[in-house]
């Protein structure tokens, strides 16, 4: 037996059978057929029909929007023009594999040439081509497995397109051989509360059906557990479930220092789940959902209804609503439809709102009206605030509408460095660690090639957090964290040590962070923060903080 090591996400443990995600198939060679055109045509027809039938079956099972997409894919697999192209190549003497590969590639090039929306669909063709090829070769189709029973998924790494298709209720645990603690897999695991080990290179040798024990707290995978070990895991899972179902206590450190644990929410309907998981309020309510599907801004009445629904779920509790954040990764045509070379550095966040002040004013109106109609403690904040002047502009405007508590999101190094002056004009600051990391490290957070820079553990990012924490402490103003970082139980301690007074995260992450806080004092947290600040890079900062937890 052996123990494989990686970076554990969260504190959970799980056991179950391994199912590997099949890798993409290599392109076929252009070789002459040895069985003749008729046989190759039959092979191609059978493979295409089987793939189309399978896609149609998945379409029927999926329902909703996914059904339409899968039905279209089934039609593409059996497309008559594609069939002609495949036949032409087979008639010229090629194998069914090459004919399918080459015919799909031809259509792909055509779609890419059309560009825009159609260019994006080109990737769908690759997926279908891979399925047909896998069928021809008699191997498992690449992509997300769906074995029909709960399983431990082992993959190189997961892309957003994979996880969108993954049936999460069947996933007992995730193990990746590549990718680190800031990979998409890790973010997904934290958000959904899935046990995960990332970057476990040794997992490449795990076989389908093999039972493993995945221990995120220890960062290990046991590839041949004894019956006793599996039984003890079952006990730990039951104990954690019992703990999670007990009424959660408010967030506090071991010495009693209160640290509010809040939820990040994207729509009012998610409020009930957050309350059930012990959220003491909402630290970040994203209002984009109201806008993303609309080619024009929603009316004040539409907005008010949604805000009332949200605020009613948190009577007597704090709810921090972020004003519309149109950004690089979520453009809104009615706010900014200009093409920008560097959208992350462009007209986004408060900049975009200010340029369309009527939309900002309408949103503040709807919020003030919803506030008057409900009993929650409403705080409002502006996204991506860069300067002291912007801070003063926004908070004055919010007060004009009678909103009592107005603050800013610190996501840009400029506002972190001047936090002492920014906070003179704001009631609170909330640090968005994802963007703060992107801007500090000058690395586009959506760009895979620079993903290794996107790590909130980097001491440069932590120093900026310290600036904000210190400014908040000296002015007596709350400093919250509402980025990914707050959901990491270890980093949460460091952030508290740097002066954060509340942590907001995906509701599934609350339980582990609550446990982590309860096991350490404010002095512990400060020592960890100092150790992390003194490190040279993100990995050593994490290691230095980890070192102190075991003492």
């Amino acid at each position: 037996m052996s123990i494989l090591r990686g970076v554990g996400i969260g504190q959970g443990v799980a056991t179950g059978p391994v199912v590997r995600m099949a890798e993409a198939l290599p392109a076929p060679e252009k070789t002459a057929s040895t069985v003749g055109a008729d046989a190759e045509r039959t092979r191609a027809r059978e493979a295409v029909a089987a793939v189309a039938a399978e896609l149609q079956q998945r379409a029927d099972a999926a329902g909703g929007a996914a059904q339409e997409v899968l039905e279209a894919q089934a039609m593409i697999a059996e497309d008559p023009t594609l069939q002609d192209e495949v036949d032409n190549r087979i008639d010229e003497g090629s194998t069914a594999e090459w004919a399918v590969h080459d015919a799909f590639a031809g259509f792909r090039a055509t779609l890419e040439a059309v560009g825009g929306y159609l260019g994006e669909r080109a990737a769908d063709l690759d997926d279908i081509a891979q399925r047909v090829l896998a069928r021809l070769r008699g191997v498992a189709a690449p992509g997300v497995p769906d074995p029909g029973h709960p399983f431990v998924l082992v993959a190189r790494d997961l892309a957003p397109a994979d996880t969108a298709l993954l049936k999460l209720d069947q996933v007992l645990a995730l193990i990746t051989t590549d990718g680190g603690p800031t990979s998409h897999t890790a973010i997904l695991a934290r958000e959904k509360g899935i046990v995960a080990i990332v970057g476990a290179a040794g997992a490449a040798d795990l076989a389908d059906g093999q039972t493993v024990v995945v221990d995120a707290a220890a960062g290990t995978v046991n590839d041949s557990p004894s019956d006793a070990e599996v039984a003890s895991v079952a006990e730990r899972i039951a104990a954690r479930a019992a703990e999670d179902s007990a009424p959660p206590a408010p967030g506090a450190l071991a010495d009693g220092t209160a640290i509010s644990l809040l939820a990040n929410l994207g729509k009012p309907a998610d409020a009930a789940d957050a309350v059930a998981r012990g959220a003491e309020g909402v630290g970040l309510f994203r209002t984009e959902f109201l806008f993303l599907s609309a080619s024009q801004a929603p009316t004040i009445e539409q907005q008010r209804g949604s805000y009332i629904e949200l605020l009613s779920a948190f009577e007597g509790k704090k709810v921090v609503v972020r004003l519309l954040d149109a950004g690089a990764d979520k453009p809104l045509a009615f706010l900014n439809d200009a093409h920008e070379e560097n959208p992350a550095l462009g007209l986004r966040g408060l900049r975009a709102l200010r340029a369309s002040e009527d939309i900002l004013r309408e949103q503040l109106t709807a919020l003030a009206e919803a506030d008057a109609a409900t009993k929650a403690d409403l705080w409002v904040m502006a996204p991506m605030v860069t300067t002291v002047e912007e801070t003063a502009y926004f908070t004055a405007l919010a007060k004009e509408y009678g909103l009592k508590t107005a603050g800013v999101m610190v996501e840009v190094p400029a506002s972190a460095l001047l936090a002492d002056r920014v906070l003179q004009h704001a009631d609170f600051a909330s640090i968005g660690t994802n963007d703060l990391t992107q801007y500090t490290m000058a690395a586009d957070r959506l760009l895979g090639s620079v993903a290794s820079f996107q790590d909130p553990w980097h001491p440069a990012v932590l120093r900026l957090v310290r600036e904000v924490g210190a400014a908040g402490a000296s002015l007596g103003k709350p400093v919250g964290i509402c980025g990914e970082a707050a959901a990491d139980p270890l980093l949460a301690l460091v952030l508290v040590g740097l002066g954060a007074t509340s942590l907001s995260m995906a509701p599934a992450a609350l339980a582990d962070v609550r446990r982590s806080l309860a096991a350490h004092t404010l002095d512990d947290a400060r020592r960890m923060a100092e150790a992390a600040l003194a490190a040279d890079d993100a990995a050593s900062a994490r290691a230095a903080a980890q070192e102190l937890t075991s003492r």
């Binding site: 279209a72 039609m75 593409i76 497309d79 023009t81 594609l82 055509t110 059309v114 929306y117 159609l118």
Partner: protein, 92 residues
């Protein structure tokens, strides 16, 4: 043999992509007749081929020529014209 054709202005606000293209190709296939579609005076392609339809890159307001051959050609073209002029993206 009766062959008919007509010119139609596309009413889907996002053009003949994804969902509208699928609905159109599906209807063309189910008609059982050979149906073609061309953008303006361009090359006519098999209307039952979703890939060929998508590859035409038809946008809202474009004019397309659809042709069908066979007994029910007129009624098939009626159905397809109806599909092409409806805005399928409104409820999507």
């Amino acid at each position: 043999m009766t062959a008919s054709s007509r010119t139609v202005r596309v009413g889907s606000s996002h053009g003949l992509h994804a969902r509208p293209a699928k609905l159109f190709a599906q209807a063309a296939k189910e008609s059982g007749l050979p149906v073609t579609i061309a953008k303006d005076s361009g090359k006519a392609v098999n209307a039952a081929s979703i890939l060929s339809v998508i590859a035409l890159g038809i946008d809202f307001g474009d004019h397309v020529v659809i042709s069908a051959e066979g007994e029910n050609a007129e009624s098939v073209l009626d159905t397809l014209t109806e599909l092409l002029t409806t805005d399928h993206d409104e409820d999507a």
